[in-house]
C-alpha cells in the first residue's frame, strides 16, 4: 500500500478514537459540612448547577482530631461529611475542581478530597437523550 493510504487510515482511526473517547467525568467531592454553602456558591459562579448532595460519614487522615473542637471527645470516630456528585463534560472538569477547591479549602486537615472518574454514559430519562447532550 502507498504511504498516503496509511496516513488516511491513521487519520480515520484518530477520528474513530475521538468518537469513542470518554468525554464526560463524574466528580465526587467529600467536603466539610459547613463549607457546602460556599462550594455551592463557587459552583454557581461557574454555571455548574447540577449536583447531587448527600450527608455521609467518613474519615481520612483527620481521624477525628479536628472533631474535638467540634464536639466529639472520642478520636477515631467517623466524622460527618458532605458528598457532592457532579457529572460534567470534559471542558467543565477544571472549573468544577477549581470551584470546589476555592469553596472548601481552609488549610486544615479534614478539608476533604476530590475524585475524578471517567463517566461512560449518561441518560436523561425524560427525553432518552444520551451522552454529552444529556448531562447539562
Amino acid at each position: 500500500m502507498e504511504i498516503g493510504t496509511y496516513l488516511e487510515f491513521g487519520a480515520w482511526s484518530l477520528e474513530f478514537l475521538k468518537l469513542t473517547e470518554v468525554l464526560m467525568k463524574l466528580i465526587i467531592a467529600i467536603i466539610q459540612p459547613y463549607k457546602l454553602e460556599e462550594v455551592k456558591e463557587e459552583l454557581y459562579k461557574q454555571e455548574i448547577n447540577l449536583m447531587t448532595v448527600s450527608e455521609v460519614l467518613g474519615h481520612g487522615r483527620q481521624k477525628g482530631v479536628a472533631e474535638v473542637y467540634r464536639g466529639s471527645k472520642e478520636t477515631g470516630n467517623l466524622l460527618r461529611k458532605i458528598r457532592l456528585e457532579i457529572a460534567v463534560n470534559d471542558d467543565f472538569v477544571e472549573p468544577t475542581i477549581k470551584a470546589i477547591e476555592k469553596g472548601a479549602k481552609t488549610g486544615e486537615t479534614g478539608d476533604g478530597k476530590i475524585f475524578v472518574l471517567d463517566l461512560r454514559e449518561c441518560v436523561r430519562i425524560r427525553t432518552k437523550e444520551r451522552g454529552s447532550a444529556a448531562i447539562g
Binding site: P33, Y34, K35, E37, K40, E41, E55, V56, L57, R70, G71, L78, R80
Partner: protein, 439 residues
C-alpha cells in the same frame, strides 16, 4: 471562657447591688381559700410547661444544627430567671415602693410569706401569687429567642437575658400590675400579660433582630424548619399551658377563670382556622405550620382580653389576629428584610398589640365588673388608655433593649463568628449534637 468570666463578674455586681436593706411587709390575717390556692398552684405548673413548649415550638423551626441551642436557651432561662425572681425580681416587680420599680424590700422573698397579701390576692398564699408571676417572668425573655435564633453567642445571651429581665421586664411589670403602678392606676386593662409579656417581648425581638443582623446565606439557602412535628408538639404544650396563663390570672377558681378559659380556647381555635384559610387562599394549600402559628397568635391576642370579653368577641379577636400576623410574617418581613428568624415580633408583638386594642374595643363590665367597658360598650376612653399602654410599652422596651444589647455587645460581643454560625450553635456553643447519622 473569657465571656463566662465577664458574665460571672456582672452577675456578682448585679446581685451585690441588690443585696440592699430588707424589710418585712405587713400581712393581715386573711383566710386562705383552698380551691383558689389549688387552682393557682396548678396554673403555675401549667405556665411553667409553656417554656419547654416554646422550646419545642422554636426548636422545630431552626435547622438541625441549632436545635439544642434553642432548647438550652429556654431551659437556662427557666433556671436563671427562677433564681433572679425569688432573689430580687419579684421584689422589683411587686414590692410596695412606688416609682420606676418596686424596690428591694422583698429581697430573697423577705416578708413574702404563706399568708395572703391583700393587695394582690386575698385568698391565696402570697408565695403562690409570687411563683405564678415568676412563670410569666420566665417565659417573657424566652419569647425573644425567636428573633436572634441561630446566631447569638451563649454567654452574651445569658447576660442579656438577666439584664433584660431586671431592667425591662421587672419595671414594666411593676407599672402595669403592681399596686400603685402608674399604668394600672391609669386604668389600662391587661388581664394576663398582652403588653407586659407579648408586646414587650415582641419589641425586644425586633430590636435584637435588627441589631444582630441577618443570618448568613439567608437568600441563597432559605432555612426550612427541620422538625415540624416538634413545632406542633410545642404548639400543643403552649395551648395547654395557656389555660394556666390566662385562666390562672383570675387568681381564683371562679367565674372569671371560667370565662378566661373559654375565650382563650375559642380564640386559639378561631385563629388557627383563620391562618389555615388565609394560606389556602393565598398559597393554594393550608399547612400544619400555619395552623400552629395561627393558634399561638390567637392565644397571644386573647391574653390581655381573656378576663374582660365574652365568647363572640373572642372569635373575632382570633379570626383577625391571624390576618394581622400573617401579613406581618409573610408580607412585611420579606419586604423590609429584617431577620426575625422565628417570628417573635410578627406573632407576639403584632398579636399582642391587636389584643390590647381589642380589649379596648370589646371589654365589658357585664363579663367582669372589676374591668371596664370598651369602645363597643360605650366607653371610647378605654381604647385610648389601651393605646397609651401599648405606646409606653413599645417605647420603654425598645430603648431598654437597645441599651442592654449595646452594653452586652461591648462586653462580650453578641454574635458568634461566621465559622461558628455555619457549623451551628449546638457544636460550637455547647459541644453537643442533637442527632446522629448512623446509630
Amino acid at each position: 471562657m473569657n465571656g463566662f468570666k465577664v458574665f460571672l463578674v456582672m452577675a456578682f455586681v448585679i446581685f451585690g447591688v441588690f443585696a440592699g436593706p430588707c424589710a418585712f411587709g405587713q400581712e393581715t390575717a386573711l383566710k386562705i381559700d383552698t380551691g383558689d390556692t389549688a387552682w393557682v398552684l396548678i396554673c403555675s405548673a401549667l405556665v411553667m410547661l409553656m417554656t419547654p413548649g416554646l422550646a419545642f415550638f422554636y426548636g422545630g423551626m431552626v435547622r438541625k444544627k441549632n436545635i439544642l441551642s434553642i432548647l438550652m436557651q429556654c431551659f437556662i432561662i427557666l433556671c436563671v430567671i427562677s433564681i433572679q425572681w425569688v432573689l430580687f425580681g419579684y421584689s422589683l416587680s411587686f414590692a410596695p415602693l412606688k416609682g420606676f420599680w418596686g424596690g428591694f424590700s422583698w429581697f430573697g422573698l423577705n416578708g413574702v410569706g404563706l399568708a395572703p397579701y391583700a393587695d394582690y390576692s386575698s385568698t391565696i398564699p402570697h408565695q403562690v401569687f409570687m411563683i405564678f408571676q415568676g412563670m410569666f417572668a420566665i417565659i417573657t425573655p424566652a419569647l425573644i429567642i425567636g428573633a436572634f435564633a441561630e446566631r447569638m453567642k451563649f454567654s452574651a445571651f445569658l447576660l442579656f437575658t438577666v439584664l433584660w429581665a431586671t431592667f425591662v421586664y421587672d419595671p414594666l411589670c411593676h407599672w402595669v400590675w403592681a399596686m400603685g403602678g402608674w399604668l394600672r392606676n391609669m386604668g389600662a386593662l391587661d388581664f394576663a400579660g398582652g403588653t407586659v409579656v407579648h408586646v414587650n417581648a415582641g419589641i425586644a425581638a425586633i430590636v435584637t433582630a435588627l441589631l444582630i443582623g441577618r443570618r448568613k446565606n439567608l437568600d441563597s439557602n432559605v432555612p426550612a424548619p427541620h422538625n415540624l412535628p416538634f413545632v406542633v408538639l410545642g404548639t400543643a404544650l403552649l395551648w395547654f399551658g395557656w389555660f394556666g396563663f390566662n385562666a390562672g390570672s383570675s387568681l381564683g377558681a371562679n367565674g372569671i377563670a371560667a370565662n378566661a378559659f373559654v375565650v382563650t380556647h375559642t380564640a386559639a381555635a378561631a385563629a388557627g382556622l383563620s391562618w389555615a384559610l388565609l394560606e389556602w387562599l393565598r398559597n393554594g394549600k393550608p399547612t400544619m405550620f400555619g395552623v400552629a402559628s395561627g393558634a399561638v397568635a390567637g392565644l397571644v391576642a386573647i391574653t390581655p382580653a381573656a378576663g374582660f370579653v365574652s365568647v363572640i368577641p373572642a372569635i373575632v379577636i382570633g379570626l383577625l389576629v391571624s390576618v394581622f400576623c400573617f401579613t406581618a410574617v409573610s408580607v412585611l418581613k420579606p419586604k423590609l428584610g429584617y431577620d426575625d428568624s422565628l417570628d417573635a415580633f410578627g406573632v407576639h408583638c403584632v398579636g399582642g398589640i391587636w389584643g390590647a386594642i381589642a380589649t379596648g374595643l370589646f371589654a365589658s363590665k357585664a363579663v367582669n365588673p372589676l374591668g371596664a367597658d370598651g369602645l363597643f360598650f360605650g366607653n371610647p376612653k378605654q381604647l385610648l388608655i389601651q393605646l397609651i399602654a401599648v405606646v409606653v410599652t413599645i417605647l420603654f422596651s425598645a430603648v431598654g433593649t437597645l441599651v442592654i444589647y449595646k452594653v452586652v455587645d461591648i462586653l462580650l460581643g453578641m454574635r458568634v463568628n461566621e465559622k461558628e454560625e455555619l457549623i451551628g450553635l449546638d457544636l460550637t456553643q455547647h459541644r453537643e449534637r442533637a442527632y446522629t447519622v448512623l446509630e
